[in-house]
């Protein structure tokens, strides 16, 4: 059909992307244009393009109309840009009987993420502080169990938690899910805070004790103000982690409380109806937008978060 046209359009699209991706190429000023540099930058640019490809395809697909998708090439930029898929994904897409779009899932996710992040960080920072500065008998043992717990597959603990939450009367509610997120976020966050508080000079703590400050006073007036960066790191870690969660959302909530990821999966993988790929991609992008924005805004802190979470300091 319109092969040459769409092809040249692809090339134009790639050209338009190139400067944003790679910036000025070539060797450093003081180095010669060596074969080594060409190899390094060439490889990196190719790899970077490969990594960016899915994001690019998501964006262009979500801006096309269905007829254009059926006829065209997925890599081609949209001929006629339409925001209709985004509107539909946000406000009209159906899951089961509800047809109010992803907005419901979005607000559910917000209502899950905000309290979960606050509660889990509050608990874990106090834990980490107690472990670092107020070592009591048995503290190390509980901490070791907690860290080992991070490796236990969630599937092992899913059902006992269902029973526990049911006994407490909060199974299927947002409160229950918030509690679950706080529990499973605890190992990594406690580790993060413990390592951070251990790295602070102990003299500070001792001086405060000599001056007669107690557990909470030292925590609130000395430790908290000194550890804002680590709180930000923990927040990034938790917001992305909880926003991206699927398993707990599907196990511990009911359909009208499903978080965004679960609702997205139900919309895209629903069997009935004609597949609207542009709406699907718009919905997928919408769901990925929150963690992506956090990632691109936070930059180095995000890296620090995963490094601190992954490699024990």
């Amino acid at each position: 059909m319109s092969d040459p046209a769409s092809l040249s359009a692809t090339v134009a699209g790639a050209d338009a992307m190139a400067p944003a991706l790679s910036g000025p190429r070539g060797p450093k000023p003081r180095r010669r244009f060596s074969r080594r540099n060409v190899f390094i930058y060439g490889t990196l640019i190719v790899v970077a393009l490969y990594y960016l490809l899915p994001l690019y395809v998501m964006i262009v697909t979500s801006l096309k109309g269905m007829p254009e998708i059926r006829l065209g090439n997925i890599f081609a930029p949209p001929v006629e840009i339409t925001f209709q898929p985004w509107v539909k994904a946000w406000a009209e897409a159906c899951t089961g009987l509800n047809c109010d779009g992803l907005s419901r899932g979005f607000w559910n996710s917000v209502r899950i993420t905000v309290p979960s992040v606050i509660l889990s960080i509050a608990i874990a920072s106090v834990n980490g502080y107690a472990l670092a500065n107020w070592r009591f008998k048995g503290a190390d043992m509980f901490f070791t169990i907690l860290i080992f717990g991070a490796f236990i597959p969630y599937q092992v603990m899913l059902y006992p938690l269902v029973i526990l939450l049911r006994e407490m009367g909060i199974y299927g509610t947002l409160t229950g899910l918030v509690l679950v997120h706080s529990i499973f976020g605890m190992p990594i966050l406690t580790l993060l805070f413990r390592n951070y508080f251990t790295s602070l000079p102990e003299e500070l703590f001792k001086a405060a004790r000599v001056d007669g400050a107690g557990f909470w006073q030292i925590y609130l007036q000395i430790m908290l103000p000194m550890s804002l960066p680590i709180f930000v790191v923990a927040m990034i870690l938790q917001v992305t982690g909880i926003w991206n969660d699927f398993l707990f959302g599907v196990v511990y909530t009911k359909p009208d409380l499903y978080p965004m990821t679960v609702q997205l999966n139900n919309i895209v993988n629903s069997v009935q109806g004609v597949k609207e790929y542009n709406v699907n991609m718009a919905a997928t992008l919408l769901t990925g937008l929150v963690p992506l924005v956090i990632y691109f805004v936070s930059g180095k802190l995000f890296v620090r978060g995963i490094a601190a979470g992954a490699v024990k300091g």
Binding site: G23, T43, I74, F75, P153, L264, K312
Partner: protein
């Protein structure tokens, strides 16, 4: 530490009270929950947990179920490929980024961004890219290579590799970051010494740098491995376990039996097997890492 501050029962009372959530989580959820599931895996629980013990019956049935065998096979293929490929890819990319290049931050940001996305988003994007009618395959057909056949999502034999591509795209940036941190931890003097001795760079990497980075490699492997065992969301989003049961994995098996098949006993037995697999990886690692010396 403990010697300088004599411990009395009430002295740290506030700290103990403050640590109650941690203690409860550790004991009730992690220890208690695990023990509960393991215990009930020996019962004939169906719709509701029951305490009628049937010995190893559930495990015998589990290992006689084709679906479980398929999911184990998938996990093994995915796991081995994922570990090897993401380590190799992650290390090579980290080594490239470590050549004192310009725009290192830009490249790193691009390589890591998929890690910020959820497995659901990852799975759905790759489902679209691998769509046989509109995706990569059809684009290559239109370019004139009509016989090109790459349709993993609808081919039971290779579906797990379709998932692997998505998994690698999402996870290799993390490995690259960990490796880069490891490379930065290497003393620059070593590079100088090897240059003085005239050893080529690739030899320095293979015989000096990589052996020195052994702890980083081991930690990274443990992280990748514990992620692999949890593989669930990606499968649900990208293939739904299909075609048929061809891309099933243990985590999905457990979920389906526990919450949809109303066969709790099977779910418990399968999840206990998952726990066992994790212990086989984690215990030797913990022994290497913390055994012998006191914790740091």
């Amino acid at each position: 530490m403990a010697a300088t501050r004599p411990i009395r029962l009430f002295r740290n009372l506030t700290a103990k009270i403050a640590a109650i959530p941690m203690i409860l989580t550790a004991l009730v959820v992690f220890v208690g929950g695990t023990a509960w599931t393991v215990t009930y895996s020996f019962t004939s629980s169906k719709l509701l947990p029951r305490t009628k013990f049937v010995g190893l019956d559930q495990y015998e049935r589990l290992w006689a179920t084709p679906r479980w065998l398929v999911s184990i096979e998938n996990l093994l293929i995915y796991g081995v490929c994922m570990m090897v490929l993401s380590l190799v890819l992650g290390f090579l990319l980290a080594a490239l980024l470590d050549q004192k290049i310009r725009y290192e931050n830009t490249f790193r940001t691009i390589l890591l961004y998929p890690f910020a996305l959820s497995f659901i988003v990852t799975g759905l994007v790759w489902q679209w890219l691998l769509n046989p009618d509109f995706g990569i395959q059809s684009v290559i057909h239109r370019l004139g290579w009509e016989s090109f056949d790459f349709n993993p999502l609808y081919n039971a034999d290779i579906v797990i590799f379709g998932v692997l591509i998505a998994g690698l795209w999402q996870g290799s940036g993390l490995v690259m970051c960990l490796m880069l941190a490891g490379l930065r931890g290497i003393d620059q003097e070593i590079w100088k010494a090897s240059r003085v001795d005239g050893i080529p760079a690739w030899k320095t990497y293979i015989f000096i740098i990589i052996p020195m980075m052994r702890p980083v490699f081991i930690t990274t492997l443990v992280i990748i491995a514990s992620g692999i065992v949890r593989l669930y969301d990606l499968i649900v989003a990208q293939t739904g376990g299909g075609p048929g049961i061809a891309s099933d994995v243990p985590a999905k098996y457990v979920y389906d039996y526990m919450f949809q098949g109303q066969n709790l006993g099977q779910g418990f037995a399968a999840s206990t097997m998952m726990l066992l697999a994790v212990l086989v990886v984690v215990i030797p690692w913990a022994y290497l890492e913390f055994g012998g010396k006191k914790r740091v």
